[in-house]
């Protein structure tokens, strides 16, 4: 009996090793494609950056790049373009590698994983972009609200950040096709809740501001003198 057990174990081990060995060429092809395309991408990115710098791309674009530099302050437009070229090639490499891996692998688990991989990558990109957008918007709202003398600036900024993060998480889960109905429902409740609480807090907190603003506009319209502290100061 022990002989049979040993034989069965040995057989299953051989089969597993055989399946793993059959995946190896695919893995190797995947790695090779990624490395090769990354190298090509790096070379092309370097060339693109050199060309753009020699053409004074950053200076020529001038004010038109303000939006770009706001979103990515540490990168110049030339460097951003070079990075874009590099990452396009990396993604191309991954796509080619995945294709090569799929062609060499014939197991159902591998093909299932392969089919799911693009969705995972997509969800990862959604999360990354959502995080960047959330951080940027929350900082912008915080600074803007402080400069408008709003006492609840931090609350407003946090609200915006969580709105974007919740939206991003819901989109990522939807993309992964995980718990779709529950996610839709939960997202609706959560998003609506945040919007309602923000609207209430801003509405209740800004009553005085709105009242003063309307009063000032009415006085201006009727030609009455408006007493403004700022008018005694001239910044420029």
């Amino acid at each position: 009996m022990w002989n049979q057990v040993g034989h069965t174990l040995s057989n299953s081990m051989t089969q597993a090793m055989g399946r793993f060995a059959s995946l190896l060429p695919g893995i190797l092809a995947f790695l090779l494609a990624v490395v090769l395309f990354s190298l090509i991408g790096w070379l092309l990115a370097w060339i693109v950056q050199r060309i753009l710098i020699s053409l004074r791309f950053d200076e020529k674009l001038g004010r038109g790049t303000d939006a770009v530099t706001e979103w990515s302050p540490r990168q110049t437009p030339a460097r951003l373009a070079a990075r874009l070229v590099f990452w396009v090639f990396v993604v191309l490499g991954i796509a080619v590698g995945v294709d090569a891996f799929g062609a060499s692998a014939n197991s159902t688990i591998a093909s299932g994983l392969l089919a799911y991989l693009p969705k995972l990558i997509g969800a990862g990109i959604i999360l990354l972009v959502g995080n960047i957008v959330g951080r940027f918007l929350s900082r912008g709202v915080l600074i803007g609200a402080v400069n408008m003398n709003l006492q609840y600036a931090r609350l407003l900024s946090l609200g915006v950040k969580w709105l974007v993060l919740v939206l991003t998480a819901a989109m990522a889960l939807d993309h992964l096709q995980i718990g779709q109905k529950i996610v839709d429902l939960a997202f609706g409740i959560l998003f609506g809740g945040i919007v309602l609480s923000l609207a209430l807090s801003v509405g209740l907190g800004s009553r005085d501001v709105i009242f003063r603003s309307i009063e000032r506009e009415t006085m201006r319209a009727s030609g009455a003198p408006v007493a403004e502290e700022e008018e005694q100061l001239r910044h420029f």
Partner: protein, 409 residues
């Protein structure tokens, strides 16, 4: 009385009579008003060409105004004049076009005046031109009449930074009225014709220092009313301070070698009169101090990306002071400005956000200054102290500029 001739740009260059001075108005102006003032021009013995830009297609309408005489009026088509986001601020491409035209006419000096026409008088033109024609200066900058609470951005940032970095005690580095000699015309035009310079503002005194030209200042009894009152502070900082920081980045190799500062020849003599003679009512400093305290409570996270821990600690202490004892030290303010200039260069955070985050700090400085000046009639002595503090703290900027990561006290 001098007569006025108005001609189209193309006709001018072919049959241009000799001109001593060009008076450039770098913005869209009320042509009828310019003409009526020019007709009464009484600067004796000088042939003057008054030049102003007009939007493309408008020169035909202006052509029918005509005549001959000592004073000529020229409308030049400059498309950049129509795209200005702040018409009360001169745009480098418009300046460059006017300076190029003056250069081509072979004038002795070119006087640029604010298009609001406040300084468009023979006396002002004569005051600006005289140091160039008689005194061997290359650039004349104005000393305006100002109240204690006028031009605060100039007092807080523009003038002290220009003095400490470039070593010249120019009181109004972003003046919209100035005069340029024939010798300095090509250099100034070239420096503002580059793509990088065209995006910012024109800092004539800085360009004069870069090209080793002599700068003079004259008292100009003029008070400009800028249309910036409806603008919020972050936008104003973005318009005025961001170009200064960009200029600092552009001339980094120069200002790091400059030590100390020198006074500038002041032609015409005497200090400019102070508007109100210190009798104007002081604004309430409370809203400014409160704006600073609100910033301190909420913007810690953003400020910590720009300012070193020592400065953050000092700001924290400052925010706890009562209104009566609230005072931002000159050294602290100087280091804050330098840190923001460095963050602008390093792109530590988006530049719009950076200038927005600076606004509460600036309001803190304004509050402190208002509290100090409530019992003082003149701000001149206090301004000198502040500018000296900027000079004394310049090594801090140089060190941080060279080793931004290493030097973080």
């Amino acid at each position: 009385m001098a007569k006025v001739e108005v001609a189209q740009e193309t006709a001018e260059s072919q049959s241009a009579p000799q001109t001593d001075l060009v008076v450039g108005l770098p913005g869209l102006v009320d042509v009828a008003r310019v003409r009526s003032v020019a007709e009464q021009w009484s600067v004796t013995g000088r042939r003057i060409t008054i030049m102003h830009p007009c939007v493309p297609g408008m020169s035909e309408a202006l052509e029918k105004l005509g005549g001959t005489g000592d004073v000529r009026l020229v409308a030049k088509e400059i498309s950049a004049v129509a795209t200005s986001s702040a018409p009360w601020l001169g745009q480098p491409p418009v300046y460059a076009a006017l300076l190029a035209e003056a250069e081509s006419l072979g004038v002795k000096a070119c006087i640029i005046l604010n298009p609001d026409l406040a300084a468009f008088t023979p006396a002002a033109v004569d005051a600006l031109a005289r140091p160039l024609l008689d005194g061997g200066c290359d650039l004349t900058m104005p000393l305006y009449e100002a109240g204690r609470f006028d031009g605060l951005l100039n007092q807080a940032i523009l003038a002290p930074v220009t003095r400490s970095l470039y070593g010249k005690r120019v009181r109004y580095p972003l003046a919209q009225d100035f005069a340029v000699s024939a010798a300095f015309l090509p250099g100034l035009r070239q420096s503002i014709s580059t793509a990088a310079a065209a995006q910012g503002l024109l800092w004539p005194a800085t360009e004069a220092v870069v090209r080793d030209k002599k700068v003079c200042q004259v008292c100009l009894p003029v008070h400009h009313e800028y249309a910036s009152s409806g603008m919020d502070l972050p936008t104003l900082l973005q318009l005025l301070v961001a170009p200064l920081f960009a200029d600092i980045e552009r001339h980094a190799s120069l200002w790091q070698r400059v030590r100390g500062s020198h006074s500038i020849t002041e032609a015409g003599g005497g200090e400019p009169a102070q508007v109100g003679n210190g009798t104007e009512t002081s604004p309430d400093p409370r809203p400014m101090v409160e704006a600073f305290q609100l910033g301190q409570r909420n913007l810690q996270e953003v400020w910590s990306l720009v300012l070193p821990p020592v400065t953050l600690l000092e700001l924290k202490k400052l925010s706890r002071q009562s209104l009566e004892s609230f005072q931002m030290s000159d050294a602290l303010w100087a280091r804050i400005v330098y840190d923001f200039a460095l963050a602008y260069r390093l792109r530590t955070l988006g530049r719009g956000h950076l200038l927005g985050a600076m606004a509460p700090l600036y309001l803190g400085w304004v509050g402190s200054r208002v509290l100090e000046l409530q019992s003082t009639a003149s701000a001149t002595g206090r301004q000198e102290q502040l500018e000296r503090a900027f000079e004394q703290n310049k090594p801090y900027l140089v060190q941080r500029w060279r080793w931004p990561d290493r030097f973080n006290p």
